[in-house]
Symmetry: C2
Subunit: 389 residues, 2 copies
């Protein structure tokens, strides 16, 4: 297979975008990425789109040709393909786009992720997103996504001595990073006390342990690395693109406090590259819930299993630290438009590897990891990226 | 890219399967295909799944890991990836599975299509499936899928002198073929008079011009052609796999009576193989509506534009004819489980090319075409298949 590079990135503001439609934000992100890559519509071979639930949110399925149409690309009759994997829809779409270029099927492809979540009431948002868990064994009994993650958090506290405040520190960190990101949904800093005092969602998780429902879109342009320098001085190589899955229902898992899909995807990605976690200076990981961010540190190998709590308690994950974690603000502060998240993580990392991230820049970062999760970890996607020059 | 072959096929009964769940039918089809290919779970590299609207039909998204789980494959942590493209979801999933093997990313993959449609009331079925058309410009104004296809039919009658009875003959043919297929939703023969006398759905289309809502699943096992003979004496080569898209809304199309996406996908597939339509003895095309079956004959190049009506009026498309059309009974009679259709078409063609189709067998067929459509033709998928021995 060919080496694949990222030639351009684009992203909309994340937030409650009540005055903008799904098609508008999808196109804005795609055009930004194409413009940055200096590619025209005639150069493209295919479009991939990650989206979880446009059917439920907008009464609209079959959205890949819709975005193709509104981007003015229909006349070329390109393949436009939607991928769905809950909150991992973006990462899985990127994996498919990567394969399309790596295989030689296409030279240049655009891959986007988009979700418009805030046009429906809060209770419906919760029901729709919880459809990423097992309907027959979990959600039908009222177990929403935050309730399921709360079970995981409680078990982690029981097994590993993780403290409630350790979880809170994950959210505090995300908001600190988000305060530096103009595209973030939330730019306010928060304190541990504020997290602990926030209204309870599902014990032990409170409102500030949970990422918001967000509208937003992000896009990347991919092409073969060997042709990348014609389009950009700073191609970013996709060194590994790995998807791994696990049972949809938590009750079928081997262990509640380890996401085996994350472990498997990371192991495959590190195996392919020969890298180790300590080679990375910057990573974007799933912190849709404070506990999911903590698990990511462990399951991806940044710390030992059970050491996530102490790491958050004692460590520093800001710019200049050994590992800069979620400089975008993560899902908690940058926002959590389900289908867009996996692409937005990579947009941030591309900008980091180019050195464009200003006061949230990880100094000297040449390698990066993106970790995208669906549901309670039934799908995990790991991408490893490297500055090619 | 490597040559790719189909090593095994599986399919459930199509119909109103009220006593069976989505996960049950998905697994039955997948296991049948794996058993036929003599592959075990440890041989698989990935699972792809085509499905349009499990979120709306079943309150369940993120279904690829669900099927992986219930098939007992979760412990291998394979990538399990859902693709959505309206009624073309199955064909597009097959395209992705094809790329996964052709690229060398995986050796053996299983690709399924499944839809469970009949557990909701009829009016909701219609609303959910019509989400494959443009919500903001079509369905919000009440233009359902049959209403949109009726516009196309009326325009074809106006431009090309197509007669109401010509359309009816498409349905009569589908039911004749379906009568020979034990898996078909409908096995009753019908007459032109019955089609013309059926309750009107959207003038000029009546109830018997429209495919039913159906529950069903189908699956294929793919692998590299060079290794195929270890698993089967009759590998079927995928000679071309092409996806093309067009605008979602009919109003944006160049011409109401030509599906440019079908034309583009067929042109690409024939270009890749050097074949022409006259090389084919058997084809499965989209006859979700009688008019869509007629258009397929024209747009895929079996007859000239405008000659679909006379071809249906005067021609014979049964076994033994120059072209055996929709020997499965097509979407009209075998049934129309949206996400499964594109896979089921290929299941039928594989059996045809192996010579296993008994009284609906196309004699001497060595090459075949599958044509899968989403919405009113915003996505078209063409696969060309060939007996490898």
């Amino acid at each position: 297979m060919r080496e694949v590079a990222i030639l351009g990135v684009g992203q909309t503001k994340f937030g409650e975008l009540w005055d903008r439609s799904f098609r508008e934000i999808g196109i804005e992100a795609g055009f930004s990425a194409l413009t940055e890559a200096k590619l025209g519509s005639h150069d493209l071979g295919a479009l991939y789109l990650g989206n979880m639930a446009s059917g439920a949110f907008l009464d609209q399925e079959h959205i890949a040709p819709l975005i193709l149409d509104y981007a003015g690309l229909s006349r070329h009759h390109l393949p436009a393909i939607r991928v769905e994997a809950g909150g991992a829809s973006g990462g899985v779409a990127l994996h498919q786009a990567y394969l399309a270029v790596a295989s030689g099927a296409h030279d240049f492809v655009v891959v986007g992720g988009a979700e418009k979540m805030t046009d429906v009431p809060d209770d419906l948002q919760l029901a729709i997103t919880s459809a990423a868990a097992d309907q027959e064994w979990e959600t039908v009994f009222g177990a929403t996504l935050p309730a399921l993650w709360a079970l995981v958090a409680r078990r982690h506290m029981h097994d590993h001595g993780t403290r409630r405040e350790d979880l809170a520190r994950m959210s505090v960190h995300s908001h600190e990073m988000g305060s530096k990101n103009p595209l973030a949904h939330y730019r306010n800093r928060i304190t541990v006390d504020q997290v602990l005092g926030a209204p309870e969602v599902a014990d032990p998780l409170g409102l500030l342990d949970c990422a918001p429902a967000t509208d937003g879109a992000a896009a990347l342009v991919l092409g073969p690395l060997e042709k990348a320098r014609r389009y950009t001085d700073t191609p970013i190589r996709i060194a590994a693109s790995e998807v791994a899955c696990d049972t949809l229902a938590l009750q079928h898992r081997r262990d509640l406090t380890t996401l085996d899909a994350s472990v498997a995807a990371a192991r495959a990605a590190f195996g392919r590259t020969g890298w180790t976690p300590s080679d990375l200076r910057v990573a974007e990981v799933n912190d849709a819930y404070s506990i999911s961010g903590l698990l990511a540190l462990e399951d991806l190998g940044f710390v030992e299993k059970g050491a996530g709590g102490p790491a958050l308690r004692e460590g520093d994950f800001g710019p200049g630290a050994k590992l800069t974690l979620n400089p975008s603000g993560g899902l908690k502060a940058q926002g959590c438009p389900f289908g867009a998240v996996g692409i937005a993580q990579v947009v941030e990392l591309v900008r980091q590897l180019r050195g464009e991230s200003k006061d949230r820049q990880a100094p000297g970062a040449t390698r990066a990891l993106a970790h995208n999760l669906g549901g309670t970890g039934a799908t995990a996607v790991v991408h490893l990226l490297e500055r090619a020059n």
